[in-house]
């Protein structure tokens, strides 16, 4: 995978009702690196993920650049095809549509099925989940793994994981970390949105961005994670 | 037939309750946006009577919400004919309407006829209706009997529970 660059510059985001969630944020991301976006509840982390993906619920000001080209005007599917992937915090169920079907349609290549089954095995995903209606009646852990599975198959330039660690037990966390490491090694820029340290002990983080009340509070390396763990966000 | 019409103005959140043993026609008409109505009713005709219950939830304005729950308890020789209409007009986008009608037939000669109707002319809405008719649960009866309660009394308790549950809402 060739090297890519994703950046937001002076980005602000408002909901349709006019409430401002993100204020003048500038961040950048590169291939093959692991980023953690942390911050207390309500800091705007999820909104950032949705804005990057082009969710029409938000009105934005500022720039989003993929390989130095502005993409704010691109549709969600165009951004996905460029190589941006979002693993949702609470993914929606779609009756009658299986993950296998979704991947086949998204990427139109024959190897998809074998690859999907291979990764499913590695992630300890029960193969019946591959042909059932996606996320319909799946447990929390199963939903997160199915999201990760899609990232592994689609091999995006950037994969954003919105709170993938909530509700996972230790075994599942290890499996998720394994998947993320695999993505990073293959060249994906992995962006992990999370509250706490748990997952981050299994995957070496290169850059930590801390958000608070919609603004960028602090930038640091993986030591910042330990500081937050000891002192909390208030201590920054 | 007794009739009651409620017009729900903009920004209003109305709660409507009723308990009837006679024919009744209830209309809830939305006349402004960002409004809601919650309707809870108990229909319990006297023995050997036939009654008609009509309800209408009419949504004419956007962002209006209605929720209707009616329970009917029908004794011997009686019948209830229920027609419940939810109509969402073309201009009532982002409106939600729900309707639930639950019936218990108390005797061999009880009769229910129910027609929940939906007429939806706007696609950007959520609308659900449900109707159930359930016999008195054998499981529940046996449970109470196993606690030493005579069957006929157990029956009364369950029916009363069905009724009280709605009165409490």
């Amino acid at each position: 995978m060739k090297s890519s660059h994703l950046a937001i510059s002076h980005l602000s985001a408002k909901t349709k009702e006019g409430k401002e969630i993100l204020h003048d944020i500038s961040l950048s991301f590169r291939s093959s690196k692991v980023y953690a976006i942390m911050g207390p509840n309500g800091s705007g982390k999820s909104t950032l993920a949705h804005v990057l993906m082009g969710n029409p619920e938000y009105k934005i000001q500022g720039d989003i650049m993929f390989n130095h080209k502005n993409i704010e005007k691109l549709l969600t599917e165009e951004r996905a095809r460029m190589g941006i992937f979002l693993s949702y915090q609470s993914p929606v169920a779609i009756p009658g549509v299986s993950v296998m079907q979704l991947l086949r349609t998204a990427y139109h290549f024959e190897n998809c099925m074998k690859l999907t089954q291979l990764y499913a095995k590695k992630l300890h995903i029960d193969k019946t989940l591959l042909t059932r209606s996606i996320h319909d009646g799946f447990s929390g852990g199963e939903k997160k793994k199915i999201e990760l599975l899609q990232a592994l198959v689609l091999k995006p330039a950037f994969a954003i994981f919105d709170e993938i660690d909530t509700g996972l037990d230790v075994d599942a966390l290890k499996v998720v970390a394994y998947g993320m490491n695999k993505l990073k090694k293959a060249g994906t820029g992995v962006i992990i949105i999370t509250h706490y340290k748990r997952l981050l002990s299994y995957i070496p983080v290169d850059v930590v961005y801390v958000l608070s009340k919609g603004k960028l509070l602090k930038t640091g390396n993986r030591q910042l994670v330990t500081v937050i763990e000891r002192k909390g966000y208030a201590g920054l | 037939m007794k009739q009651k019409i409620y017009r729900i103005a903009e920004g209003m959140n109305k709660k409507i309750n009723f308990i009837v043993d006679h024919s009744f026609d209830l209309e809830v008409i939305f006349q402004g946006k960002n409004s809601s109505a919650e309707i809870i009713g108990l229909v319990r005709p006297k023995p050997h009577t036939n009654i008609i219950i009509q309800t209408k939830q009419i949504h004419n304005y956007p962002h209006s919400k209605s929720n209707l729950l009616i329970r009917s308890v029908i004794p011997e020789g009686s019948s209830v004919a229920y027609i419940g209409t939810i109509r969402i007009e073309k201009q009532a986008r982002l409106s939600d309407a729900y309707q639930k009608n639950e019936t218990m037939l108390l005797s061999d000669t009880s009769h229910i006829h129910t027609s929940p109707i939906l007429e939806i002319l706007n696609h950007d809405v959520k609308c659900t209706h449900g109707a159930t008719v359930k016999p008195i649960s054998e499981e529940e009866l046996l449970y109470l009997q196993s606690r030493g309660i005579a069957r006929s009394q157990a029956k009364e308790m369950i029916i009363q529970g069905f009724v009280d549950d709605i009165i409490n809402k």
């Binding site: 992937f85 | 009769h111 809405v125 159930t132 008719v133």
Partner: protein, 464 residues
């Protein structure tokens, strides 16, 4: 899904130049009814049945409910067309013209694959029939209705008109007077016919009426699956399709009847379909309504024997200028009977779908159970969906559950799929197909593929 597999569905809107031996005059009167019977060389009892039915038709009024039928003028149609050839016993004996018609629909492949027998209807008469030896050996009768009247008179006379009496409604009376074609199936005791029996229909000449009459008798402990799929050419004047299907499910027997209807959008499709289900019998209706200008169809089951079961799986799609007024009826007469009705509808581009259903549990049908689920998807602002169910319960020990929801395609689901790089149009198509999936998976394979493709194309706006 392989896009190149099937042609554009409105390629089915073709017609070969009319190849007819005999065409009745336009309109309907006693002489025409007599003439139809004479052309078919029918026994007297069928002729008098027709004439009595015609009297009933004249007296009966149009239904006082449902969509408007005011544009329907009975005098405008031809009620009988007899094609040139009498029944050919094999595919190669068919006249070239007719073979071409069916080549376009793709029958030969299907025939090779796994059809047991095919009754193809060309205009109002069955032209082609091929019944394999295994069926005949088992004692199964799979014939066209016209021949059955002549060849199995006792069987036909015993059951014809017993499930749907002439006076049931105006269109049943019409069909009873001018019926032509349709299938007759008799399955003997204990015989299970594993492969689906199929039939194909076409309306060809302008203003032609289709009045096929089907009668299926499944004797005790037997099983049969009958399926029909129709396509029709596009005409500027209206066409009328008013079929009657009667099914008798005897003790412990099981019948599945699958219909995929895709008439062109100038057709009035008014069908009466009913099954009488005896003790421990099972009736399964799988009904897909995609075409026609107006369809009024409510597959019904009368559960007359203890533990009889009935199920209706219904899909309706209404696009621009279409009204799908479909649903089901379940009448519980005996105890421990169960019924299940699942209806999924999609309305788009100004189309209108209406679910019309009736569940009746009479006094004495102890422990009867019924469950109805109807879900409707309204895709855009011009379309409309209605639900008109009716439940009449007079049995204290019975239980009934009915649920209906109406919604649009969820933004959340669209966002999810587009965030995987799938175009918004394709995402809508996937969601719509996913919505009807529980019913589509009950269809024979070739129908489910065609159906998914059709819905996909319509949702993407590629076809009307």
């Amino acid at each position: 899904m392989n896009r190149t597999l099937l042609p554009h569905p409105y390629a089915f809107g073709f017609h070969t130049k009319d190849v007819h031996e005999y065409k009745s005059k336009k309109g309907l009167n006693k002489e025409i009814v007599m003439d139809i019977s004479f052309q078919k060389t029918e026994p007297d009892w069928m002729r008098s049945f027709r004439l009595k039915s015609f009297d009933v038709f004249l007296k009966k009024s149009m239904p006082g409910w449902g969509p408007s039928l005011s544009e329907l003028t009975f005098a405008d149609f031809y009620y009988y067309l007899k094609p040139i050839v009498s029944q050919a016993q094999s595919w190669s004996n068919l006249p070239k013209d007719i073979k071409e018609t069916y080549d376009k629909i793709g029958i030969p492949e299907m025939e090779k694959k796994y059809l047991s027998g095919v009754s193809a209807q060309y205009e109002s008469e069955v032209v082609y029939k091929s019944v394999q030896q295994t069926l005949t050996k088992k004692g199964v009768i799979f014939s066209d209705m016209d021949s059955a009247v002549r060849e199995y008179p006792e069987l036909v006379q015993t059951y014809f008109g017993t499930v749907i009496p002439t006076g049931d409604n105006k269109f049943a009376a019409l069909n009873s007077s001018v019926w032509s074609g349709g299938s007759f199936i008799y399955v003997p005791k204990g015989v299970k016919v594993e492969l689906p029996l199929q039939a194909y229909f076409r309306i060809n000449a302008a203003n032609m009426g289709q009045f096929e009459r089907t009668l299926i008798i499944a004797d005790e402990g037997s099983f049969v699956h009958y399926s029909e799929g129709c396509t029709a050419p596009i005409y500027s004047t209206d066409s009328l399709h008013s079929a009657v299907v009667e099914i008798i499910v005897k003790k412990g027997a099981r019948v599945r009847y699958t219909t995929v209807q895709n008439w062109s959008t100038n057709v009035y499709n008014l069908v009466t379909k009913r099954a009488r289900v005896e003790e421990e019998g099972i009736m399964e209706w799988v009904d897909c309504n995609l075409g026609s200008k107006l369809t009024m169809k409510y597959p019904s089951m009368y559960l007359v024997g203890r533990k009889a079961r009935g199920q209706v799986l219904s899909i309706a799609y209404a696009g621009a200028g279409q009204i799908q007024d479909a649903g089901a009826k379940a009448i519980h007469i005996a105890s421990e009977t169960t019924s299940e009705i699942i209806s999924k509808s999609i309305a788009r581009d100004g189309g209108r779908t209406s679910y019309r259903g009736a569940v009746k549990i009479v006094h004495g049908a102890k422990h009867a159970k019924s469950r109805v689920v109807c879900d409707a998807l309204i895709v855009d602002k011009d379309s409309r969906s209605d639900t008109y169910p009716m439940m009449d319960i007079q049995e204290q020990t019975a239980s009934m559950e009915h649920e209906a929801t109406v919604s649009k395609i969820s933004d959340e689901q669209l966002l999810y799929l587009t965030s995987r790089g799938i175009s918004s149009k394709e995402a809508q198509s996937m969601i719509a197909n996913g919505f009807i999936e529980p019913i589509v998976k009950e269809l024979p394979l070739e129908y489910s593929v065609e159906l998914n493709r059709l819905i996909g194309l319509r949702m993407e706006g590629s076809v009307g």
